[in-house]
């Protein structure tokens, strides 16, 4: 009978472990429902002629368009990336709607093309995302792909795109490992993960920081962030006293924080996603340790972070891909602030940098197609490599591996509950506060 109890225990353990590993993906086995953000149907054909004259081709005047370019993307709607996936979808839709309604379609050698974007829910699961991208290529026969949210999902889906020779332009996979495989069909508009902490570490070194500790989750993106932080510390003359990793879904970091406290470094660098940022702040406070500076990825740059953490969020530094207060601008979406206003009017919330880079992803593909003057994959690939533009999101200039080599990473610090850009020098709106005051003196 003991054996039976043992058997039950093992079965249950396996089930729970499976549920943990794939997050909440196990519930959906049916075919995913496609959501089409914008279609070229002619239901709005009653629009006035003046508008049709102003816009050479739009969803309301499809007869004046030469055709429709079909794009596809797998982006999380449920699962662990449902928040960031929502930002990504809204970012893509901002570009598609602007393109089809205001800009007048993509200009391909004088002909105007509408864009249709087919999106599926990858549930935050790598296997699901890969299957969906294969389906987009083989069944939906999309012309080009846009990326999913997160480095992990971009790793897998870009391999599928490479196998079929379909171009994928993405804005939410920052890990260097994505670009170290010699792929010819992946292009990313965002600054790679290894450079996330550069601006922040430079600013802290300038302020007098001498020693540093690093903790990061042992998954693709945080590992790249951690390796980058070590590199930048060496570059700016900061000694790294310790480096610690922790697993996905960690619930307690007090051991790491205790160890770090006893080493007494000047600054703490934490690489992870949103939840980890909350743990780091509470963890440091729970062991009574106030580093002079705390740099944490993903969390702090999101306005929700300060709302949830309260006063303890003040003085936390976070790398940011983009902020509405930055001085970038272009002829399509205007300034960064104008893009933010457009986004807020459309979606009722401020754009996170994940949303802005998703819009920029669409814009980069759009500009490359116009530059190529063709829909041919080889021509567009070459045009992506040749592309060198300034946009509301920052400069876009792809290197041979597909990374955006042109864009510097910014850093924000939360001051009085507001995220303020403190680096790089040309984009900053506030001065770095260093060292930060102890937790109990706020």
């Amino acid at each position: 009978m003991r054996r039976r109890t043992l058997l039950i225990l093992i079965v249950v353990l396996a089930m729970v472990a499976a549920a943990c590993g794939s997050d909440d993906t196990a519930e959906t086995t049916s075919a995913p429902a496609a959501t089409t953000t914008t279609t070229a149907d002619a239901t709005g054909a009653t629009t006035t002629t003046t508008e049709a004259e102003m816009v050479p081709c739009s969803t309301s005047t499809p007869e004046s368009c030469a055709g429709t370019i079909v794009l596809g993307a797998a982006v999380s709607e449920t699962g662990r990336f449902s928040r960031e996936g929502k930002d990504t979808r809204q970012g893509y839709a901002t570009w598609v709607d602007w393109l089809n309604e205001e800009y007048g379609g993509i200009n391909v050698g004088g002909d105007r093309y509408l864009v249709e974007l087919i999106q599926y829910d990858d549930e935050g699961d790598a296997d699901t995302a890969a299957n969906l991208v294969e389906r987009l290529i083989t069944e939906d026969e999309v012309d080009f792909l846009l990326g999913p949210y997160s480095s992990g999902l971009t790793m897998g889906t870009s391999a599928i795109a490479e196998r079929y020779g379909v171009l994928m332009v993405e804005g939410n996979g920052a890990s260097e490992t994505i670009f170290e495989r010699g792929f010819q069909n992946i292009f990313a508009v965002l600054t790679p993960a290894g450079n996330y902490t550069e601006s922040a570490i430079k600013a802290l070194a300038d302020a007098g920081a001498k020693t540093m500790v690093i903790a990061y989750e042992d998954t693709a993106f945080p590992t790249s962030v951690g390796a980058g932080a070590v590199k930048w510390a060496a570059e700016y003359g900061i000694e790294v006293l310790a480096e610690e990793t922790y697993p996905l879904n960690v619930a307690d970091v007090s051991a790491i924080m205790t160890k770090f406290r006893d080493l007494d470094p000047d600054i703490f660098v934490g690489g992870g996603h949103f939840n980890d940022a909350l743990l780091f702040v509470r963890g440091a406070k729970d062991v009574g340790w106030t580093p002079k500076g705390m740099v944490i990825t993903v969390g702090p740059s999101n306005p929700e972070f300060a709302t949830e953490v309260g006063v303890d969020a003040n003085y936390i530094i976070g790398p940011t891909q983009w902020e509405a207060s930055m001085s970038w601008s272009d002829e399509w979406f205007g300034t960064a602030a104008e893009f933010a206003a457009r986004y807020e009017e459309k979606w009722g919330e401020q754009p996170s940098y994940q949303a802005a880079e998703s819009t920029a992803t669409g814009l980069a593909l759009h500009l490359a197609i116009e530059l190529a003057g063709s829909l041919d994959t080889d021509a567009v690939r070459q045009a992506l490599r040749d592309l060198n533009v300034n946009t509301f999101y920052g400069p876009i200039d792809f290197d041979d591996t597909g990374k955006n080599a042109g864009k510097p990473m910014g850093a924000i610090q939360i001051l009085d509950g507001v995220t303020q850009v403190i680096a790089p020098a040309e984009a900053k709106v506030a001065d770095l506060v260093y060292p930060m005051p102890p937790w109990d003196e706020r």
Binding site: R2, R4, T5, L6, I8, L9, I10, V11, V12, L13, M15, V16, A19, C20, D23, D24, A26, E27, T78, G79, R80, S82, R83, K86, V230, L241, A242, E243, E244, T245, Y246, P247, N249, V250, A251, D252, V253, S254, A255, I256, T258, K259, D262, L263, F274, N275, L278, L279, R282, K285, D286, V287, G288, E304, E308, V309, G310, D312, W439, D440
Partner: protein, 314 residues
């Protein structure tokens, strides 16, 4: 890993003793939380034989209730537990009457499937209503006491430990000193005999489930200020509850405390003393411990409410 050896100052003299004391404190604090978190899981399994795979989701719902009170009315999480307890009790009682009672006497697999389905429904319902944005509550207790230079006691986690101990003492007294509690133990030990002496087993089960869910909700309230609260936080907690139950024995309260603290100390020591990958290795160690216990003492270290042999077919 590119990190070199730790500076010697942390390894010699008074520092190492401080670190040792700190590791013990951290471990006990962590263990207290683990014990409170898994108690409901363990007692439901012990009394009804139902393995509740939605356990982590009940913790999540308790945490969200607390966040709503904290965010909406500024109620401190440690005060909110007074409200969370009755709300979750009613939730658990009704759920038992409507759903769980129908599966208590069925094979284990049915209970596993039903509670697994329940966990998915709960996580996604919360996500639809409150989005996936992680939440955190604020407590007036946050901060530390300095025991002496180099050793600190986290105040929030001390609060969690105290509440956990109170809950365990309360449950122990309830099960052993009250008539209702004795009925619950009777139903756990022998359902047929309990029926013969006039115990309404269905009602007993519903009350047990209500109390366990209430305790689980309180555990959610307690952790809402120490870690991110989000709809999909449940499965790792269920897994942890499972580990400690196997360590402790089904429904054993002293076992829950000792099992929780054992695991807390193991994780704390490995986390502090192993460099670079300590926190990763601690998770590995906790499951290695589980395997050893399962193989050598499948009834758990401390016995419990119910004999390990299951009278019902799989």
């Amino acid at each position: 890993m590119a990190c070199g050896p730790l500076p010697l100052t942390t390894l010699k003299g008074g520092r190492s003793i401080d670190q040792f004391v700190q590791a013990i404190i951290n471990g006990i604090m962590l263990g207290g939380f683990y014990a409170a978190m898994m108690l409901g899981f363990s007692v439901i399994w012990g009394v009804m034989g139902v393995i509740n795979l939605a356990h982590g989701e009940f913790v999540m719902v308790g945490a969200y209730l607390t966040w709503l009170m904290s965010d909406g009315a500024g109620i401190d999480p440690f005060v909110a537990i007074l409200l969370v307890f009755p709300i979750m009790f009613v939730f658990g009682y009704v759920l038992q009457r409507v759903l769980i009672n129908r599966i208590v006497d069925r094979p284990h697999l049915v209970a596993l499937l039903v509670t697994f389905g329940l966990s998915i429904i709960m996580a996604n319902a919360v996500k639809l209503r409150y989005t996936a944005t992680p939440r955190l509550t604020d407590t007036a207790l946050s901060g530390v006491w300095n025991l002496y230079e180099g050793v600190t006691i986290p105040r929030t986690k001390t609060g969690i430990l105290v509440v956990a101990l109170l809950i365990m003492a309360g449950l122990h007294l309830f099960l052993h000193r009250t008539k209702l509690g004795k009925s619950i133990r009777a139903a756990a030990q022998n359902k047929q005999a309990a029926r013969i002496v006039g115990i309404d087993v269905k009602k007993i089960y519903a009350i047990t489930f209500g109390i366990c869910i209430a305790i689980t909700g309180v555990a959610g309230a307690l952790i809402s200020s120490t870690q991110a609260v989000f709809p999909f936080m449940g499965p790792p907690l269920t897994l942890r509850a499972f580990t400690i139950t196997a360590l402790a024995g089904l429904g054993s309260i002293p076992g829950a405390l000792m099992g929780g603290i054992t695991l807390g100390l193991v994780e704390s020591f490995i986390g502090i003393y192993v460099e670079g990958i300590g926190t990763n290795l601690a998770i590995v160690a906790s499951f290695a411990l589980l395997w050893v216990i399962l193989v050598t003492r499948p009834q758990g270290l401390f016995g419990g409410l119910r004999p390990a042999e299951e009278p019902q077919p799989l």
